[in-house]
Amino acid sequence: MLKNRIIPCLDVKNGRVVKGINFVDLKDAGDPVEQAKIYSDGGADEICFLDITASNENRDTIYDVVKRTSIKCFVPLTVGGGVRSIDDINKLLNCGADKVSINTAAVENPKVVLDSSKKFGSQCIVVAIDAKKNGDKWEIFTHGGRNNSGLDALEYAKKMEDNGAGELLVTSMDRDGTQIGYDVDLMSKIASKVNIPLIASGGVGNLDHLVDGIKLGNASAVLAASIFHYGKHSVQEAKEYLDTKGIPVRI
């Protein structure tokens, strides 16, 4: 039976791990290579790096981080943040990333998703969707949550599937950093709209939120950052808890 995945996410800035509260107020929580290794040894199903300020700053540090991580980390590694072009994707994959997540570039130029999934295969193309609720719909935001594209999240998700995305990483901008739980309404609506796996992100504050993401949000995988970074819970604890709730996990 296929297991639901738990994915610790490391927000990386200038080669160091940080986690923002609603994308501002960054705190330093350590070395990404070391953290990734701790997570993979501790049973993380995948590791995710998001180079959060990459759209604006020099991002060469991420290549070195990915390179050093991939020689120690033998679970899938996804890297996102500031991925603009086929060339960026190629560079990250060559450094040892297994998947690349594309956010702003996919909104501005959906052809990037089409071309990259053709060139590298859908299995390594994750489209990251940052969505914020507006009335009874959700809109897509870009540039780390700063710009509203006005696009409808559900229609956009479907379009990205059609363009060849292998997975969707859906972050609720309303919930990110709040620790009050995923926007399961958003997750389940997108999950029922597409046939590719959905990774839920944004808002995890306790282990029940992970359960909700899977049971109510119909996510295939749940991504979380701060509950793992600051030692509140280990990945193993999270898995054991999900197991008691009847969710299939790899233990």
Binding site: M1, L2, K3, S70, F74, Q123, C124
Partner: protein, 208 residues
Amino acid sequence: MKVTIVDYSSGNISSVINSFKEVAKDKVNIEVTADLNKIKSSDKVVLPGQGSFKSCIDALNKINGLTEALTEFAINNKKPLLGICVGLQMFADIGYEESETKGLGWISGIVSKIDNQNGKYKLPHIGWNQINIVKQSKIFENITNNSHMYFVHSYEFLPNDKNVISATTDYSSNIVCSVEKENIFGTQFHPEKSDKLGLKIIDNFMNI
């Protein structure tokens, strides 16, 4: 001993290289190349594959003499070869991804899309699934039944001779996830991304 990972521009093979180097340490020489003479003189060959069946076959065929060199290695000389993901799928006669494409024809059968039962199962089949070992294979030495391995694929290999199947995994149906036919081995899952147990499988292959 020399193990060659075939580098034929089939997509991202850094993880395969990293994992084999991790297992090899200094005992085994890992070559990453498409050089025909180096392949022929190897003790073992690894055939990775990412992307579509068609794109991988096209990439193989683009390198003059590569298919012949691999066939000589695996079929004529019967030296150990491990295919990973699309690398395994290419053993088949025909693949149906993108368009009907002729495979290597080493293990008779076809590669077709997983039946997702009208959307009941998400595709690609991504994540950790358990393997059901149906035949003891050399690469499963000290791997217990129902171990978790990491999968990413939408197509499955349907071999004609079921005796080549060494493991299956349950996703919509019993999907063939490992084969062994004499000296030819293949895994649909990614041992290079399957944590310690995956590294063990790589170690087992190197020790054949």
